[in-house]
């Protein structure tokens, strides 16, 4: 397919293609630069100052001090460790549940369309509100989780050992459907003749799964994993609402507290930059896989 070279087609009538292209693209780019890039440049400056947004005192240039303090702070490292653990738990859980559901659904089932849509419902809901109603479910005295599991008055969210798992479980509940959705697409794209050939060769179900199904679904599953890794790293909404323990203080929660409750604006800008570098790195990998999937 050939692409129109804008200037060679400088049309006789109406606006030229070049003008239209610029008119269509430049406002969006400018908008994003003004409201996303410019703030980041601004906070790059505050990252090197001792500015506090709660006082009228002027910001003083402190050089690399914020970064030095952050990297030397054992609490910040703990936030990173907690977040890493959270990412591992949620992504693993989502892949197991999501892929499992997709395997179950990938056959003739009555009302399959309706069931699939209903299963997808959790990922469409507002994470903050989801966090809120899980609070009701987790309640130690009248929550239905304790009732159905027969766990008495077990504390889910106030228990330092359990809290992170409880918050992660909500994430798994919300986002397993996402992995399921992508896995279903991958599974339905596996050519049927491969299974027929495997059957003729009397291949066992394990062989079929590990040699045919998994390798062919892997690229799409990879997209789901990277995307969820990135999102889990940024988790804030439901975790902030459910979090009562220092053991559930994810990076985003710590950052929020530092910036908007402790008003350490300069320090939190520096922290935000450290987080940003990680996110941009994962985004890079993600886009590479997206483009690969597109090319197929």
């Amino acid at each position: 397919m050939t692409r129109l070279e804008p200037d060679t087609r400088a049309a006789a009538r109406g606006l030229s293609d070049l003008t239209i292209r610029n008119l269509f693209i430049i406002p969006t780019i400018v908008f994003l630069i003004v409201f996303n890039v410019f703030p980041l440049i601004y906070s790059l400056w505050t990252a090197f100052t001792d500015y506090r947004a709660s006082t009228s005192a002027d910001a003083n240039w402190v050089g690399l001090q914020n970064f030095r303090e952050l990297l030397a702070d054992p609490y910040i490292w703990r936030n990173f460790t907690i977040t890493a653990k959270y990412v591992m738990i949620t992504v693993t859980g989502q892949v197991i549940v999501g892929f499992g559901l997709a395997m179950l659904l990938n056959r003739k089932i009555p009302l399959k369309g309706l069931i699939t849509t209903l299963l997808l419902l959790p990922m469409m809901l507002s994470p903050a509100v989801v966090g809120l109603f899980w609070k009701l479910l987790y309640d130690p005295s009248f929550g239905i989780i304790n009732y159905f599991l027969g766990m008495g008055k077990f504390e889910w969210l106030a228990n330092p050992q359990m809290a992170l798992w409880a918050v992660a479980l909500v994430d798994i509940w919300m986002w397993s459907p996402f992995v399921m959705l992508l896995s279903l697409a991958g599974l339905s794209a596996v050519p049927k003749h491969l299974y027929e050939a495997a059957e003729i060769d009397r291949a066992g179900p394990f062989y079929t799964f590990f040699r045919i199904t998994l390798p062919l679904v892997a690229p799409i599953l990879m997209i789901a994993i990277i995307f969820r890794t990135m999102e889990a790293f940024k988790t804030f909404d439901h975790a902030y609402i459910l979090s009562t323990q220092p053991t559930t203080e994810l990076i985003a929660i710590r950052l929020y507290k530092m910036a908007f409750l402790e008003w350490q604006t300069g320090m939190s800008s520096a922290f935000a930059y450290i987080v940003l570098i990680v996110v941009v790195a994962i985004t890079n990998i993600y886009v590479k896989y997206l483009n690969k999937a597109k090319a197929r």
């Binding site: 693209i25 780019i29 419902l121 697409a185 985003a252 886009v287 997206l290």
Partner: protein, 320 residues
């Protein structure tokens, strides 16, 4: 998949159906439970064992929209009979509506305003993001753009920024120019957030429209703009609708920016509803009714959107 043949396969298939139904029940229980709680009388909301069967009441919804106080003694029959239906519901729930001492008017809770704010901010930002996103997607789809891949990556990367990272400097800037706690301020943030998504997904939809349609129109004497509005836009309508629903849901569900950039005037429902959970004394039926009203539009939209979910969730990279 090959037709079911052997006895073993029949059993496996039945077991799979049972497992799917079981998973469905587990996945939907939290949503059903909050829905049920929204229609319960207060004394049945936090019982042990949980109350599953009850006579539904609209009392929590009437409470949700009004400011109330505890009813010390049962209300007398004449007052009850004279009260409007919603006030009766509040009386049924064992509370009374707080009325202005001078005018006698009922005072409303903050929920109605927050819900309205959510609607305004979500709808306006969706319209802006989708219209800008569609023309930009057309630009990228049809014209040669120097450094196209880099620009597209840049556009997508703005979407991946954690809200809090952007919110710190934005808060300072908004405070300086008076956009803190305004609808406009929130609309700008949501538009920026959804714009990158709209560009990516609309580019996929527009790429699928054969360019021969426009070429033919151009030969017929249409200008490029006319061809865009009369040929391309009608063809892309399904895609535009799906994109708009996605953008609406994203803006509607957004919590972090709303929490940090608003306090009262422009606050949306997501930061408001959780702030109503007190320390043990909170009325879960009222919170549940607010949650129910908030989740209902999203549930409806999910059904309308069901065939586009895959595409939307993968930024247009995976299509069926």
């Amino acid at each position: 998949m090959a037709e079911v043949k052997t006895k073993g396969e029949v059993i496996v298939n039945r077991a799979a159906i049972v497992a799917v139904l079981l998973a469905l029940v587990i996945m939907l229980t939290p949503i059903l439970w909050i829905t049920a709680t929204a229609f319960k009388p207060r004394n049945l909301a936090t019982t042990v064992p949980p109350t599953v069967f009850f006579e539904p009441t609209l009392s929590p919804f009437a409470k949700l929209f009004t400011k109330r106080s505890q009813l010390r003694a049962p209300v007398d029959e004449a007052t009850y009979a004279a009260a409007p239906w919603w006030e009766k519901l509040v009386y049924d729930g064992g509370e009374q509506v707080v009325r202005n001492k001078k005018t006698g008017e009922a005072t409303s809770s903050g929920f109605g305003n927050r819900y309205m704010n959510s609607l305004i901010v979500s709808i306006v930002s969706t319209i802006l993001a989708v219209s800008m996103g569609t023309v930009t997607a057309y630009g990228f789809s049809r014209f040669r753009v120097p450094g196209e891949q880099d620009w597209l990556f840049f556009i997508l990367s703005t979407r991946m920024l954690p809200p809090i990272v952007v919110a710190i400097p934005m808060f300072l800037m908004y405070r300086a120019v008076g956009l803190y706690d305004t609808h406009v301020g929130l609309i700008i943030l949501y538009t920026a957030f959804n714009l990158s998504f709209a560009v990516w997904i609309m580019k996929g939809f527009i790429d699928e429209i054969p360019r021969e349609y426009e070429e033919a129109a151009l030969v017929d004497g249409y200008t490029r703009l006319q061809a865009f509005f009369r040929i391309v836009l009608p063809e892309a309508l399904t895609g535009i609708a799906a994109t708009a629903v996605f953008c609406f849901i994203t803006a509607w569900n957004e919590y972090a920016f709303a929490l940090m950039m608003t306090s009262r005037n422009a606050q949306t429902a997501p930061p408001y509803i959780p702030s109503q959970v007190g320390s043990g004394l909170s009325d879960w039926t009222v919170i549940a009714s607010g949650t129910f009203l908030f989740l209902l539009p999203v549930a409806i939209f999910t059904f309308l959107l069901r065939n586009h979910l895959l595409r939307g969730m993968s930024f247009g990279a995976i299509r069926k």
